[in-house]
């Protein structure tokens, strides 16, 4: 078993206005509280199927998505609750979808792994590892052919890098200079297989560079770095420089899904990475810079908990899609 030692926790001044910083902090807390509740409701039998928690990785989705525009396209994975929420989806619609209720964003057809939202241009959580990458290439192609300004941000994990879909998509996007931002969330494990046991080349930026694609590596636990790097990367993609690859180095604090005894990593390693937790380290930096008081943090947390309570109430009050609608929407007409 390889040890993945954590670097020193993110530190230093936060170069943002207070309002903006607190908004991003609040989004991380909202994801955390929503997912803690989802895990609880899984235990209570309210949520079934697979449930993949993003806990520990919040800085990546929050920092990156706040660097994008509402008209941009988002393609995500099955670990996408946070992306959906930050993108602007209603927490109630997310929770109801996890419950399998008709009031969910996809009427309960997709569940946790398949959050879709046309309004915020979220083209799905995709549960085929690497499955979203070719779609992102096509969305980028459509954008380019229609002279639109939007870019497509495609999120995927380090596990997807071993798939053929990754290599075909990187090649096509670079060959055709498409406006796609490839956002690789490297949490060091594809399910239970560590990156050293899956990749002959563990420096993922080298792979991107082999497709003549600029590649940036960023500390995915440091929301300031995530946001600034993504902003810069998105701008380069938006002006037509072609695709760009960003590797967010992050870590999953919880199990892969709810069926995972975590035999593949040491508890000490997880604890070590928790010292780099994105919420408490960012809060500490804000406090040190006088941009956050304990009262303000508690207010943010209380607001998140209220939102979660309302989302759970919404899901609980939701209805089941009638069985007569089973075949509905198989085709458009």
């Amino acid at each position: 078993m390889t040890d993945h030692h954590a670097a020193a926790p993110p530190a230093g001044a936060v170069p943002w206005k207070k309002d903006f910083a607190l908004r991003l902090l609040a989004d991380m807390v909202r994801i955390r509280r929503m997912e803690e509740k989802a895990a609880e409701m899984y235990g209570a039998g309210k949520i079934r199927g697979f449930l993949h928690l993003y806990i520990g990785e919040e800085a990546t989705a929050v920092g990156a998505l706040h660097a994008l525009s509402p008209e941009d396209n988002i393609v995500a994975t099955y670990r996408e609750h946070g992306h959906a929420l930050v993108r602007g989806m209603d927490m109630g619609a997310i929770m109801a979808e996890m419950y399998g209720k008709r009031e969910g964003c996809a009427h309960g057809r997709g569940g946790s792994m398949h959050l879709f939202d046309k309004a915020t241009r979220l083209f799905g959580g995709n549960a085929i590892v690497g499955g979203g990458l070719p779609l992102a290439v096509g969305l980028g192609l459509a954008t380019k052919m229609q002279n639109e300004k939007r870019i497509t941000a495609c999120f995927f994990g380090d596990g997807a890098v071993a798939e053929g879909a990754f290599h075909e998509s990187m090649n096509l996007a670079a060959l055709w200079k498409l406006p796609v931002l490839f956002c690789c969330e490297n949490n060091l494990f594809g399910m239970g297989t560590s990156i050293e046991r899956a990749e002959s080349q563990t420096d993922l930026c080298v792979k991107a560079a082999s497709y003549n694609m600029p590649a940036l590596k960023v500390d995915g636990m440091d929301i300031v770095a995530v946001h600034e790097v993504t902003k810069q990367a998105a701008q380069r993609v938006r002006v037509g420089e072609g695709p760009l690859f960003v590797e967010y180095q992050t870590y999953r604090f919880r199990a892969h899904s709810m069926f995972d005894a975590e035999l593949y990593r040491q508890k000490a390693e997880v604890e070590e990475w928790k010292t780099r937790g994105p919420i408490h380290t960012f809060s500490a930096r804000l406090k040190a810079g006088g941009k956050l008081s304990e009262e303000e943090f508690l207010a943010i947390d209380a607001a998140a908990n209220s939102e979660v309570a309302a989302a759970v109430a919404f899901a609980e009050a939701g209805t089941w899609e009638p069985i007569e609608d089973l075949l509905k929407d198989l085709h458009t007409s």
């Binding site: 964003c105 083209f123 192609l141 075909e168 096509l172």
Partner: protein, 324 residues
């Protein structure tokens, strides 16, 4: 005034028309541009429509079929060409897991208006990695429509309604038909929902599609000489199957043989037979028969390839079995 043209020209005209009429339509695939198309379906298109809309791809079936799905989600109307059905297996994940699922799985939010065209079938001594007939596999999948144009009229007419369809449509073009010539009537517009009787008869219904249609029609001529009046029904649309038209032929003829170039086990023929059992069992004078490919990888040597495939003689023999 009808006019004479071959299958290749008919399909080429259909694509030309689509590209001319709708700026959202573009053609993407291996060697569709500079090479002019593997089977010359798109010869001259690159010069006329330019490299943005006639898009040569690398050998990345998974990548470019998935990109077609993404482009469709993004507002375009792509025609994605896959060189043969065997190569489409590299793209099957995107077709089955994305194109076919998105509309339903997103709760009706996202449609995928995509057309995928691919060559299918044997008969050209291309051996076991270029000759299979896997359209029955595709016909198994809810969320896509599956077409098999087998006439000049359908080659000319099926693409436009396929492109107008808001959901994914997969078109199978049998390689044995490409040089087939025929008359295109003035009104060649066709639907993509019904099966069609290609030869009316009363003694036996030969139910087939794609490259087996000419073989079925040839068999019907031989049977006519033997005093058996065969009806030939072209399924045309493999998903969803036009059950009503199948049952009408079966009820009229009381005997049916299903001809399918797919392998027998788990074949589309098996599905058609099951539907006949479910819907027309008491109309039958004999058990339904079928003529399928032998269950081997299609071999290269001509005599062995011919032996592996449905042929007019095998169809005639199967029908004569009803009257023995």
């Amino acid at each position: 005034m009808s006019r004479k043209l071959n299958y290749r020209e008919a399909m080429r005209e259909a694509m030309h028309e689509a590209l001319t009429n709708d700026p959202r339509v573009f053609l993407m695939g291996e060697d569709v541009g500079m090479y002019g198309g593997t089977y010359a379906f798109s010869k001259g298109f690159l010069d006329e429509f330019g490299p943005e809309r006639i898009r040569d791809t690398p050998l990345s079936e998974l990548g470019f079929v998935g990109a077609g799905i993404g482009a469709a989600l993004g507002g375009m109307r792509p025609i994605v060409e896959v060189m043969t059905v065997n190569f489409s297996l590299l793209a099957l994940d995107q077709i089955v897991n994305s194109a076919a699922t998105f509309r339903h799985m997103s709760g009706g939010q996202f449609s995928v208006p995509l057309v995928i065209r691919m060559t299918t079938g044997a008969g050209r001594q291309l051996a076991a990695q270029h000759s299979h007939s896997l359209e029955g596999w595709y016909a198994h999948i809810p969320g896509i429509k599956v077409l098999a144009p087998a006439t000049i009229e359908d080659a000319r007419g099926m693409l436009a309604p396929a492109l107008a369809d808001p959901d994914p449509v997969v078109i199978f073009e049998h390689a044995g038909l490409f040089n087939m010539e025929g008359e295109l009537p003035d009104d060649w517009s066709v639907d993509i929902s019904s099966a069609k009787v290609r030869r009316a008869g009363k003694d036996v219904a030969i139910i087939t599609h794609g490259g087996s249609l000419p073989k079925a029609l040839a068999a019907a001529e031989q049977l006519a000489a033997a005093g058996i009046d065969a009806e030939v029904l072209d399924l045309r649309v493999l998903r969803p199957l036009d059950t009503a038209t199948i049952m009408a032929s079966v009820a009229k003829c009381r005997r049916a043989v299903v001809v399918d170039e797919g392998w027998r086990t788990g074949s589309l023929a098996a599905e058609v037979m099951a539907r006949i059992m479910e819907n027309a069992f008491y109309e039958l004078d004999a058990p339904v028969a079928r003529v399928c490919s032998e269950e081997v990888p299609i071999p290269y040597a001509r005599h062995m390839e011919e032996a592996a495939l449905p042929q007019a003689e095998k169809i005639v023999a199967a029908v004569k079995g009803f009257f023995a």
